[in-house]
Amino acid sequence: MVEFNDVSVTYSSGVDALHNVNLKINDGDFAFVVGPSGAGKSTLIKLILKEIDATSGTVLVNGFNLNKLRRRKIPKLRRTIGVVFQDFRLIPTMTVYENVAFVLRVIDAPVKYIKSRVPYVISLVGLSHKAKAYPTELSGGEQQRVALARALVNDPQLIIADEPTGNIDPALSYEIVDLLKGINECGTTILMVTHEHDLVRSFGGRIININKGSIAFDEFIGGSNES
């Protein structure tokens, strides 16, 4: 669950990135965050990951009050969140398997569990045959699927996908959102930031539009490919 109460962010440069944002994303929601560049979408994500602090207001994420969360406790928060970035952000010196397993290593998961869970998650994104490949040997779409596997391997409460389709072919974009939808159906909350209005229209769901640091609208729309 993500909750913003009267949240404002002003950067040290003086830029007002968000003002008085009130937002609640419940467990199990799938929400698209849309808006023009510089609207405050990235700031929203940075706040959720506690990369930055709110200038005012309170931010609650997965039971953590981020206003009171100490720096050394940030890893604990982030272990409840899976993140998928536009530029994939895979560790280039690790294979697909190692990239995905790394998240479980971080939480000190038993080796036996890692050995069974990682191949399973890699198979969910359809990359079992590429488990031993390095990120540089994969296409953009494949790398994003690895990033997705990494995001969901420790069964997080929330997955944030920051423009996950920005660097891949439009055809593959639908595949990625389909995967995210599938994960959401299993109960994981998904927050997907995107510029691609066609994609949003096609899938539908909750749309949060941010403009000039405020929420312009927050509504549910029906998708064109929904039956």
Binding site: L49, P75, R79, V83, R89, V103, R105, V106, V111, R150
Partner: protein, 301 residues
């Protein structure tokens, strides 16, 4: 942390030496050069100190014994002298031996003048070497108070010069070593910073997936430590070759120390273990700490 995690992180550290081999090699070279510069300077300094110490050891206090002191009292005096903490060695020099030696150094003319002298005018003496030359004056004053002692002669002025030389040498060599350490630390910190900077994205990703600082630091720490130990090993070999080469030139070919009549240089065999341990600790410490400090700034994500 579980044993499996420790194994994993150690493995990651060792693996990344190879995966980041260019940067590892750069760190290796910098640590190697730094250890050599500092190590050779320290060795030069301790040898110089030993030479001065050798000269100091040759400085004697001559204790002249009163003419009327019998053998028993002489032995008593010897015991008293030996009981002084700053006294290193006490050697008896009889007046007969002194007389013979004095005659040896004379011309025939001078000798003929003394040849028929009724009595040996020289006194029996004790020749003393001291532990700490700085306290020579103090020791001499104490000896002067003993009943059986006629007088004492000590090269206090020379001792003062030696003490000053030793102080200046210690200051200069200390300053050089310190300057080298600072220069090396700056170079090493820049190299490790560059090495870590090249991997900042990797660190960033680790932070995003919830790795704590310790989890990120340990592989870097191990990597730095292993590179540092390798550099120390090579530095030890190079130091051994350089030192033994110089040693044979100075100690054997020139026989220079015999001419000076002072203690010879340390052989590498004498200092092998201290040098090995110092290099290993310094190499491991520089490599490990240098790297883990450099990643600190990238951990604040």
């Amino acid at each position: 942390m579980k044993a499996s995690s420790v194994r994993y992180l150690t493995g990651q550290g060792l693996k990344s030496i190879w995966t980041n081999r260019m940067m590892s090699f750069a760190s290796f070279c910098i640590i190697l050069v730094s250890l050599l510069m500092v190590g050779l300077s320290v060795l030069f300094s301790i040898n110089l100190n030993r030479i001065i110490g050798g000269i100091e050891g040759k400085s004697e206090v001559i204790v002249q014994i009163k003419d009327d002191v019998d053998k028993k009292d002489q032995a008593e005096l010897r015991k008293k002298l030996e009981a002084i903490p700053n006294v290193n060695k006490v050697e008896f020099y009889s007046k007969e031996k002194a007389w013979k030696n004095m005659l040896k150094g004379m011309t025939e003319e001078e000798k003929s003048f003394f040849q028929y002298a009724d009595d040996n005018p020289l006194p029996d003496t004790y020749r003393i070497t001291v532990v700490d030359i700085k306290k020579m004056n103090e020791t001499t004053t104490q000896i002067d108070t003993f009943d059986s002692v006629e007088s004492t002669k000590s090269p206090t002025a020379f001792a003062d010069v030696l003490v000053s030389i030793r102080r200046v040498v210690a200051m200069i060599s200390g300053a050089i070593v310190l300057a080298l350490i600072i220069v090396c630390m700056i170079i090493i910190s820049n190299t490790t910073r560059a090495s870590v900077f090249a991997r900042r994205k990797e660190i960033n990703i680790m932070k995003y997936v919830g790795a704590n600082n310790r989890f990120i630091r340990i592989p870097f720490f191990i990597e730095g430590m292993v590179v540092g130990i390798f550099a120390a090993g090579v530095a030890l070999l190079l130091t051994m070759f350089a030192y033994n080469g110089l040693y044979s030139i100075l100690n054997e070919d020139f026989k220079i120390w015999n001419i000076l009549g002072v203690k010879s240089l340390y052989s590498f065999k004498d200092i092998f273990w201290p040098v090995t341990i110092a290099y290993a600790i310094a190499g491991a410490f520089i490599g490990a700490v240098g790297t883990s400090i450099s990643i600190g700034k990238h951990l604040k994500v």
